[in-house]
Symmetry: C2
């Protein structure tokens, strides 16, 4: 049977290691040229397929593909665009098939979070529903670590390493300054609904009294009085207080503490600003000087301090996605399975996309300390191995030497325009 | 002549490498035990001297002292406390002499920014004015790079490396997302009056079109209309716009763009929040989605990505301070002298504290591009070597392994309390 071409695309918020997954996909596909022909990358995710804006990755050198392993961002462009069901958006699905047919695409790899696994699942089903044979495989990616079934999600470990390292460093700063200056420091961490990354900040503490002294998790309703008590306790005992606050921390009524009122294309509230609001409350109530940091995109793109574990897992899920496809599987996602905590051992298994799509995995109750402001030993055992190892990128002139691909467009074969 | 003890302290906002200077002081003093006896560190800067809260550094192991080279923060605690003139605060100076006499202190090393060099200078003068022989040496430290005479200030190179790296990484993120999501990203950078670190963000760009597209320097009055034109230009040409904005950017009337209304103990306005204010303006006027980051303390404590050049210079000024003292010099500060840009060569010379104290060094006009939104090639030649080299700290369990000293207090010899 003649090889079929493949479509690969990146979707949703990017990470420090989504390109390592791309590297795994492309390097593995090149080794299976008997089954997979060209890999076309969608420029800006599924939009690239809908608009027939396909990047011919066969024009990229082996060295450039290899350099994706240490390059943050999304090399082919990402998107926030959610495909609805085939019944609601039949025109989009018909267009996808038209593009796939025109470019002889038989494999669809979609690399993203929960919404993207949903897209991968829907595409995998159109083979049956619309009579076009297409293999659909999801590849997990999210700094939020909220994809179910897989033990963890590529992208999370590196963000966890970044926030825990940054918090530890800022805490050394704070401790030095607190006698005559700043008493409270609040680090705002991404994760709008799930507190995984905020929880990971707790890894910065090695012993009693070490920062962070308070976590504000989105899974725990914010109680101002109890929170201020906790801060005052830390101030009394340690002379300063370091807080890790999730961008998604909510008031008891379920409202985000610091909603900006803006929504993204998926209908998710755009957040940012919980830490400044929080420190205003502390200054007003406790009268002490506060500092806050909102690293925002810095935390999810910090390839310079990526976790080796995370980079290896990101590559492995990309590789496994192609291997699953070559083995004739579809409607699955490579999932990371934990075999042991210490020594940390893991392998890759297949998860049915139907069980993965559109579900969020929150911090389980047994990972949250009794008072709600910290994590348990069980959480620490889970989190600790994910940040291990320093997968440094190469440097040039003092800065990380990241690759920019040529991203040459494959010639269009269809006459019509498709507006998304 | 019997050796005299030394006093060493750290002052002002801390940095990723001020402890490397401490390492240079302590290791060098140990090699000159014929001249310098014990080194007492002030707990929280000059306050430690005033309150007779002295740390006996001779109790710290060689390994612990060596580990200061890779540990951020201020190992002995810092302070924001400014000594006024001897005529205004004679009680403080008399108290200092009382403590120095009680502990046989003949050397005073003060490690900090412009205000701290002023303190070092004043203490160096009391030998003459109050008849107590004391050698006073300043050791430069400031992430703001605004100390005059020295070519650059230890602490700056590492912050510059951090902000340029972070901006490059966030720009890869932005570029991937901008088609369907965020169009503008603003990174807020420290430096309340001098735009050195904001200027260093420009090192992230390698070629035309690379981020950052706009710098907002504190040396250039903010002009909203011209700024928005510049942003629109970048959006039209590149599809997105990355901005590095100084925390100290000012309106034409000289007011800080985002003053918080709070002042620190030196009477300096506490800033923070220029980036969120700025992106609100952009969203209101241009209608596009913006993200912003305020790394705050993260940028000045990011020892995990310190510049090797900076670490070496920080150590060198600490070592030179002791060597100057041993050679009988006083009222001086080791300054870094640049011998050539490329290859970068430098050495250490002595700068009279009278020429250093209380002055700020701003970006010179020839470093700022004609439109005020960028830097010149001359600035690039100056900045480039300062971020070169990756002086990685050791890691343990996935996190930087920083040292916490015992910081045992030397027994007090004075009866009275001194309240600062």
């Amino acid at each position: 049977m003649a090889p079929k071409n493949a479509f690969y695309a990146q979707s949703g918020g990017v990470s420090a290691v989504i390109n390592a997954s791309a590297c795994g996909v492309l390097e593995t596909a090149r080794r299976h040229s008997d089954v997979i022909g060209k890999v076309y990358a969608g420029r800006n995710g599924i939009i690239g397929a809908l608009t027939e804006d396909l990047i011919d990755t066969s024009l990229e050198s082996e060295a450039a593909i290899a350099a994706l392993r240490h390059t943050p961002g999304a090399a082919f462009g990402s998107c926030r665009y959610k495909l609805k069901s085939i019944h609601e958006q039949s025109a989009q699905y018909e267009r996808l098939l038209e593009v796939f047919r025109a470019h002889d695409i038989g494999f669809f790899f979609y690399n993203g979070g929960g919404d993207s696994q949903d897209t991968a699942f829907k595409v995998s089903q159109i083979g049956t529903e619309l009579g076009y044979p297409i293999v659909g495989i999801g590849i997990p990616k999210t700094v939020d670590n909220d994809i179910p079934v897989t033990d963890c999600s590529p992208g999370f470990g590196s963000m966890a390493k970044y926030v825990a390292t940054s918090l530890r460093e800022a805490a050394f700063d704070m401790a030095a300054m607190s006698r005559t200056s700043t008493k409270v420091f609040a680090l705002e961490v991404m994760g709008r609904h799930a507190g995984w990354a905020t929880a990971a900040c707790a890894l910065a503490a090695e012993q009693e009294g070490d920062a962070p002294h308070v976590l504000l998790l989105p899974e725990v309703a914010f109680d101002e009085a109890r929170f201020l008590d906790k801060v005052e306790g830390a101030l009394a005992r340690y002379g300063h207080c370091v807080i890790a606050v999730s961008e998604g921390v909510k008031r008891p009524d379920g409202e985000f503490f610091a909603a900006s009122g803006v929504e993204d294309a998926f209908g998710h509230a755009q957040l940012g600003g919980a830490a400044p609001v929080l420190t205003k409350v502390i200054t007003a109530r406790l009268g002490c000087k506060c500092h806050w940091a909102v690293p925002d995109y810095l935390q999810r793109s910090a390839r310079h301090i990526a976790s080796t574990t995370d980079v290896e897992q990101a590559y492995a899920v990309g590789r496994a996605a192609v291997e699953f496809a070559v083995a004739g599987k579809s409607a699955v996602m490579p999932a990371i399975r934990r075999l042991s905590d210490a020594p940390y051992r893991w392998d890759i298994v297949e998860a049915p996309l139907s069980e993965v799509a559109n579900k969020e995995k929150f911090l389980p109750a047994e990972f949250i300390s009794a008072d709600g402001f910290g994590i348990t030993e069980a959480a620490r055992r889970y989190l600790a191995p994910l940040i291990v190892g320093e997968a440094y990128p190469p440097y040039k002139d003092g800065l990380p030497d990241y690759v920019k691909l040529q991203n040459a467009a494959a010639p269009k074969k269809l006459a019509g325009e498709f507006v998304v």
